[in-house]
Symmetry: C2
Subunit: 207 residues, 2 copies
DNA sequence: TTAAATACCATACATTTGTATGGTAAACAT
DNA sequence: ATGTTTACCATACAAATGTATGGTATTTAA
């Protein structure tokens, strides 16, 4: 039975999780030490030993970056969801994370992409539903017909993107919602990124 | 413009991709050398140099395991799909990978879970559609109501799981398909795993 | 009160790791 | 014919890495 982690140990474990999620691999002892301002690796060494003793990680001896996470079920790591996004009518976007989703450890988030939780049903014909998590990449150029996330008058939307001469058209898959047409110069419109994938956890569906 | 990779370079790149996908981090030069039977790291060093020159990877100098994949769009790595699975009527399962899906680099597959591609529409009310990729974890105990993947008479199905006294019931969300009832002792039924998530790439939806 | 755990420090050491340099041989292109 | 790329080898080295050992001070538990 794993005992409780101390506050510092929790922070180190959290750093391990985030480092793996952000950089795609566990940190070295030196990297952990640097992050926490420790002047040597021995301190980290001891903390890792304690965390391992309590069952949260496993160290692969002699292997560089050999820290394995042994979280509850080994398959999910918490990731912040940056906001909720309307598939139907726009919803407010939140400055901080509104929620945390357990993305599978298959999930190494690319550094610059992020998650948004979909509310509403305007994309149901594109098979995106309320509660789904969309993975948004802000560094790709949108092509016509792709699904994008955008901010419009301080609210966020997820819709199909079409570029016209002087306008941008955002259309829903669901015919109940009419297309939104925006002049290209309209100041309070900002393209956030394109939706590269959808993920849905099955957890809540268990009965 | 990246030139073509040689056969050996391709194999090394493939190893890099798989290593990252399987182990969660890029390999060291020594690990690559060992895998290919090279007697020193310098050979790997040169190959990596060539691969980097051609634009497929980026080396972070001095950083251990500092090989970054710069695939086409940096966000997708190919993963084998082990088989197709019927959401409606059972389909044959294939011994080898039938396909390769570009799972986002957010995708570090847990060692023991795998992917199946869904065909058919019996789960459409559970929002799983033909073409979706389900992530299957073979090492979890199924609870009633969870969606599972199972092999039945050499075919594979994805359905909701219900355990009864002496039977197992596999039901579709779609009322057009009747529940399948199996005696617990029925020899050619094998539970493969539970579906922990669904992933869908948006790539093909671009117009 | 005594022992154990926690949270740091410092130093030391064998390996590992990335890298540099140089050599050999074959394939290919100009 | 000559140069370039490819595909290996060997050796060397500084830096990074995991690890071991020992010390100090504070907090917590028995």
């Amino acid at each position: 039975m794993p005992r409780e982690l101390t506050e510092i140990q929790k922070k180190i474990l959290e750093f391990l999780i985030n480092h793996k999620a952000d950089r795609g691999m566990p940190p070295t002892l030196a990297e952990i030490a640097k992050h926490f301002g420790y002047r040597n690796r021995a301190t980290v060494q001891q903390h890792l030993g304690a965390i391992e003793k309590k069952g949260f990680i496993k160290k692969n001896p002699k292997l560089s970056r050999g820290i394995e996470l042994t979280l509850e079920d080994k398959f999910f790591i918490p990731r912040p969801v940056l906001g909720e996004v309307a598939a139907g009518n726009p919803l407010t976007i939140y400055p901080d994370a509104v929620d945390t989703i357990d993305l599978p450890t298959i999930a190494h988030m690319p550094k610059d992409s992020f998650l948004l939780k979909v509310k509403g049903d305007s994309l149901k014909d594109a098979y995106i539903f309320s509660g789904d998590i969309v993975i948004v990449n802000p560094n790709l150029e949108p092509k016509n017909g792709q699904i994008v996330a955008a901010i419009l008058d301080d609210a966020a939307v997820v819709k199909r993107f079409y570029k016209k001469k002087n306008e941008i058209e955002l259309v829903s898959e669901n015919p109940e919602y009419k297309p939104i047409v925006i002049d290209k110069k309209y100041p309070s419109f900002k393209l956030v990124g394109i939706v590269v994938g959808v993920y849905r956890s099955m957890e809540k569906k268990a009965g």
